[in-house]
């Protein structure tokens, strides 16, 4: 158990940026995003003994994190506004139409939470549909339909198997 805990801690530390980003996409608020991650951490540490195969750590933890994010939205049903976000201009050096991509970023953030989760995990975190289906506890065809719905809303057409 102690060993498992250490593996988990290392995994969390290495991926903390990704977890924070995902939590932030639900809360749109710095403190609340940290709360969501913390809540997810405490729950998962508590339940770690139920995780039989450490290979599933990623999807298992993401599932808890996504649930916490959605829980946050349910608890705070009022309108969540997209706050100004900071980003390093240098990282966008290759980007020749920043305005359009910021719009796309905001558009993704404005999607309905369940659809947004799928879009973020698939395109921003490069996850496979099967992984997403495990994380969101839905079957692959539901993930696919949410993905298409999201792309349709974003007015993007791509070939996705």
């Amino acid at each position: 158990m102690q060993e498992k805990l250490e593996v988990f801690k290392k995994y969390v530390e290495e991926n903390q940026d990704a977890f924070y980003r995902l939590a932030f996409s639900y809360t749109k608020n710095y403190d609340a995003a940290l709360d969501v991650v913390q809540e997810a951490l405490l729950k998962s540490i508590d339940k770690l003994s139920t995780l039989k195969n450490i290979d599933y750590l990623k999807t298992w933890f993401y599932r808890i994190l996504v649930n916490e994010g959605l829980n946050y939205l349910r608890k705070n049903k009022r309108l969540v506004l997209v706050e100004d976000f900071e980003f390093e201009k240098s990282e966008l050096s290759s980007c020749d139409n920043i305005a359009e991509s910021i719009d796309m970023y905001s558009a993704v953030q404005a999607l309905e939470p369940k659809i947004r989760t799928v879009i973020i995990l698939r395109f921003f975190e490069d996850m496979k549909l099967k992984e997403i289906s495990k994380i969101t506890k839905t079957n692959v065809s539901t993930v696919k339909s949410r993905l298409y719905k999201g792309l349709e809303l974003l007015k993007i057409s791509i070939d996705e198997e």
Partner: protein, 278 residues
């Protein structure tokens, strides 16, 4: 697709704040304490406080003077999270944080309160389960798409209203949320000196009903005068005086706060109403 790639760059440029590492460290640190049960921690903390006191008393006369005002023993009276779990499926999302009291100075009352809390939590979760299933069934039967169904959220938690050497006052909240939210509250006010539940007459005297009624009425009028958006039901539907089992808690000033549930004396949009009786 190119825009999505660029949006990805923006997304990835968000970095976790420095505070994150602290949160990770503290979360994992707590994990190691899980092996201990809560009682042990309370006792060992009390023991270490005693040792610290003795050490400080010997070397600091100013501290020795102030120490008499710090209640050591009754500080052990506590309400803590006894059970915490969550359950999720397609019909509901349930989160339960069940409290338990200990060392309130009356074993009988302690047992009774803990039993009652347990029964309330069990009943609420069972009822919610049943209702959630029925709601989903009705939703699908009336032509709703099962994938679009928003599960019912059930939240059971507690909140300490005040805690000192004399009083322990806390509330058990059960909230059901689906389109609309409703919270059922159960208040516990314990006199730690006598080990009994505090009644309104203990706090407000023999004429407690008159005192409370007048104060609440006055405060309703004050609120309406101050803000025209404050709406209360009028006449028969409005405030008719406190009831026999009036809900209240003791706040940090040691004052009684009378509580009304949503819809009880005002429209739902006004939410729950609280009146401090000074």
């Amino acid at each position: 697709m190119k825009e999505l790639e660029e949006a990805k760059k923006i997304y990835k440029s968000v970095k976790s704040p420095p505070k994150m590492q602290k949160i990770i460290d503290s979360s994992f640190k707590n994990a190691k304490f899980k092996k201990w049960n809560l009682k042990k921690i309370t006792l060992s903390t009390a023991a270490s406080i005693c040792i610290l006191f003795v050490a400080l008393l010997n070397c600091n006369s100013a501290f020795a003077k102030s120490v008499s005002t710090i209640p050591v023993i009754s500080d052990l009276a506590n309400v803590f999270t006894f059970k915490q779990y969550s359950e999720e499926d397609s019909t509901k999302h349930m989160r339960v944080e069940q409290p338990k009291v200990e060392n309130i100075g009356n074993a009988e009352l302690e047992k009774q309160i803990n039993k009652e809390i347990n029964q309330k939590v069990e009943a609420a979760t069972k009822e919610a389960q049943k209702e959630a299933e029925e709601n989903k069934k009705a939703y699908i039967q009336t032509g709703g798409n099962p994938n679009d169904y928003v599960p019912m959220a059930i939240d059971v938690n507690y909140e300490i209203k005040s805690k000192n050497e004399k009083v322990l006052s806390f509330v058990l909240n059960t909230t059901w949320t689906q389109a609309n939210a409703f919270t059922e509250q159960t208040f516990y006010n314990i006199d730690l000196k006598t080990g009994k539940e505090i009644t309104l007459s203990d706090k407000l005297g023999k004429d407690y009903k008159k005192v409370a009624d007048e104060s609440v009425k006055k405060q309703i009028e004050e609120r309406k005068a101050q803000d025209k958006d404050q709406i209360f039901f009028e006449d028969d539907a409005g405030f008719q005086g406190i009831t026999e089992n009036q809900k209240f808690y003791i706040n940090n000033n040691g004052n009684v706060v009378i509580v009304f549930a949503k819809y009880e004396i005002a429209p739902g949009c006004m939410g729950m109403q609280e009146f401090e009786i000074k």
